[in-house]
Amino acid sequence: MSERAAPARRRRRRSGGTVPWVWVLPAVAVVLAFRYVATGAGTWYAFTDWDGISRHATWVGLDNFHEIFEDPAARGALVHTLELAFAFVITANVIGLGIALGLHRTLKTRGLLRAIFFLPVVMSSLAVSYVWQFIFSYTGPLNTLLDTVGLESLKRPWTGDPTWALWTIFVVLVWQFVGLSMVMYLAGLEGIPEELDEASAVDGASTFRRFRKVTLPLLAPAITVSVTLSTIYGLGVFDQVLAVTGGGPVDASETLATQIYKQTFAFGRFGYGTALSLVLTVLITVLAVSQLFVLRARERRM
């Protein structure tokens, strides 16, 4: 009986393993065809000088990639992208976590406050950016405030100042992303049993020690998600740059995404723009995946 049953189980196991894969094949084929093969086929243009309108494109090999690393504007865009993403990821996550901790339990009005902090996330990036552009303009509210409090010497056209232009975008990004970061940390905090915190308090642990030794290790999965998402968001920033500074003054706030747009659509250099897109894709993939591995390893250690 048992000898006859064993092959039957094997058959069932085999069939149970293969049938769902057959069912999923059409969906996988569609995803591959429309998301990866189509995009991958477009990478061919990165090795051409196609201008977006001619019927034929000339193969130029790696010329576009050489130009990226030789062109000061493209190199500057790469540096700005990394600077902006680095500062944004740290600031947005620190503030998001701080707000989440503040609104986790004690406050009675926490529901309302959570909604207020989350509101910028659902607003259009472009609309928000235009509002901030007005705030930063020379006759805008920020300079008016500086005037009012007697700090006229600090007045400047913020979005047209080579030193400050990039950081005006940073402010907009943080302002808009903090709400999302807060929600991710709140979800993580909800999953931490209250008893653990209470027990450590009874044992005499200070608030900071409880946070460091109990809350933070248990928040590791939320940190992984929030940091990874904000990294991807920060590296691909586009709307805010285009609306607030347009990448200026003279490339001072240009990022890789805006360079791609300008080279491709404003200058009609589709081949070069595609090469820049490839560089950005590789950069985001490498940074996001390696960051994910590091954070996952840290989660296991905690």
Binding site: S54, R55, P157, G160, D161, G248, Y261, A266
Partner: protein, 433 residues
């Protein structure tokens, strides 16, 4: 009694006959409607928007539809720049092009007609009946003709100059400047009286480059009208032209003289507009086709134009370019209707009406200097003298990167990020991309 009471058997017959009659009438009517509809042709037009749609152009299309009830125009208006250019390119490449579409003259812009003609997307208009009567200055012919084919209809000539508030200028006691030194003096006077003389949207590459090319016309082309051709044939460079150096130096001088309002380097077109329409800033380098829009913001304001002065009054030149043009898609299946629309748009009535509505000049008005609108009278004297009128220099530049670089570097001159020498080198580098 029998005569009154009809037999129940005959009723269905009568109803049947009535129904059949109604059906025949309905079918006949339907057939005639269907027949009329089958004779109606709808042509797709893609054109530039100015603010909300383009009511001035729509007025021309409405009139055409009244005159040609068998042709319906389905017009789409998109903002000029990357949105318009990329929609047009995508539609043309996808084989779903508009039958008639807006283009600009020459080759230096995103929607320039010559690259589209080179790629085979525009129909030849050389045999249209208006070709021999529609005036096109010899200097402008290379922007439209390619290998014996006419690529587009030059629909409107757009003068570019310095638009100013008549009343504000008078209140400040400033005369229209006729030389560079008078211009700089006007800046100092306006600033001393709490106003600014010249507006600039420094963060808009289009406006900053327009300002620089207009200034260059009265410096570079005043000395050497053939400079553009020399640059195209490689006989000169930006860096090797002293007049280009002087043009860019004048921008720095204007900044130092306080010509521009604070924050001009950070302003895009929209944030720069309120300062001008309220009269806080006296003047602004603009194409005349913007008059209608600016007048709608402040109906009380009285505007005129003056020509951007050169070093001397004799050097002063004016830009007037046949920038607004319309082409027919080479693969349109509605060629007859599309040509009919283009033929109508080429008439003096249509071009004149459009010019008067927008603030542009029709090709016929440009040829005679007559019947141009009130606000352009300050340029009228120049427009009558062929040797003092030039199309915008960038129309014949080889790619959009040159004019974008010029705009970007003008902003750099204002912020101190660029020197005159760096700007000239950047322009020569962009020429070769």
């Amino acid at each position: 009694m029998e005569a009154v009471t009809r037999s129940p058997r005959r009723r269905p017959t009568i109803y049947g006959l009535a129904l059949a009659a109604v059906a025949v009438v309905a079918l006949a009517t339907g057939a005639s409607i269907a027949s009329a509809r089958s004779q109606e042709t709808t042509i797709k037009v893609l054109a530039q928007s100015n603010g909300q749609g383009n009511p001035q152009l729509q007025a021309i299309f409405d009139r055409f539809q009244q005159l040609n009830p068998d042709i319906k125009i389905d017009a789409t208006y998109l903002p000029i720049g990357t949105t318009y250019a990329n929609t047009l390119r995508t539609q043309l490449q996808g084989g779903n092009g508009p039958d008639v579409f807006y283009v600009t003259a020459g080759s230096g812009g995103l929607q320039s007609v010559l690259p589209l003609a080179k790629a085979g997307y525009v129909a030849d208009l050389a045999r249209r009946p208006w070709v021999k009567t529609l005036p096109l200055a010899p200097a402008n012919k290379p922007f439209f003709w390619r290998r014996g084919k006419l690529t587009a209809l030059p629909f409107a000539v757009v003068p570019v100059g310095v638009m100013y508030h008549i009343d504000v200028l008078a209140d400040l006691g400033i005369q229209v400047p006729k030389t560079t030194s008078q211009f700089l003096a006007a800046c100092r006077t306006a600033k001393a009286k709490g106003k600014y003389f010249l507006n600039l949207a420094g963060a808009s590459a289009q406006n900053a480059s327009l300002f620089a090319t207009v200034l260059a016309t009265s410096h570079v082309l005043a000395k050497d009208p053939g400079w553009n051709l020399k640059r195209i044939t490689g006989k000169t460079t930006f860096a090797g032209t002293p007049e280009w150096r002087r043009t860019l130096q004048r921008i720095v001088d204007m900044k130092d003289a306080g010509c521009f309002p604070p924050g001009a380097e950070a302003n895009d077109n929209i944030p720069a507009t309120p300062g001008f329409v309220t009269g806080q800033v006296v003047s602004w380098t603009l194409p005349s086709s913007i008059i209608g829009l600016l007048k709608s913001f402040n109906k009380e304001a009285k505007y005129n134009f003056f020509a951007m002065p050169g070093e001397t009054a004799a050097d002063t030149r004016v830009n007037a370019s046949p920038t607004d043009a319309f082409a027919v898609w080479s693969k349109t299946t509605n060629k007859a209707a599309a040509f009919k629309l283009i033929d109508y748009m080429a008439t003096p009535a249509a071009t004149g009406r459009y010019a008067n509505l927008t603030g542009a000049v029709s090709p016929y008005q440009a040829a005679t200097g007559k019947h141009i609108i009130y606000e352009l009278r300050g340029l009228g004297g120049f427009l009558k003298v062929n040797s003092k009128v030039f199309p915008l220099m960038n129309l014949s530049w080889p790619n959009p990167a040159v004019v974008e670089t010029l705009g970007k570097d003008v902003q750099g001159l204002l912020t101190g990020q660029k020197t005159v020498a760096q700007t000239l080198a950047d322009l020569d580098a962009a020429w070769g991309t």
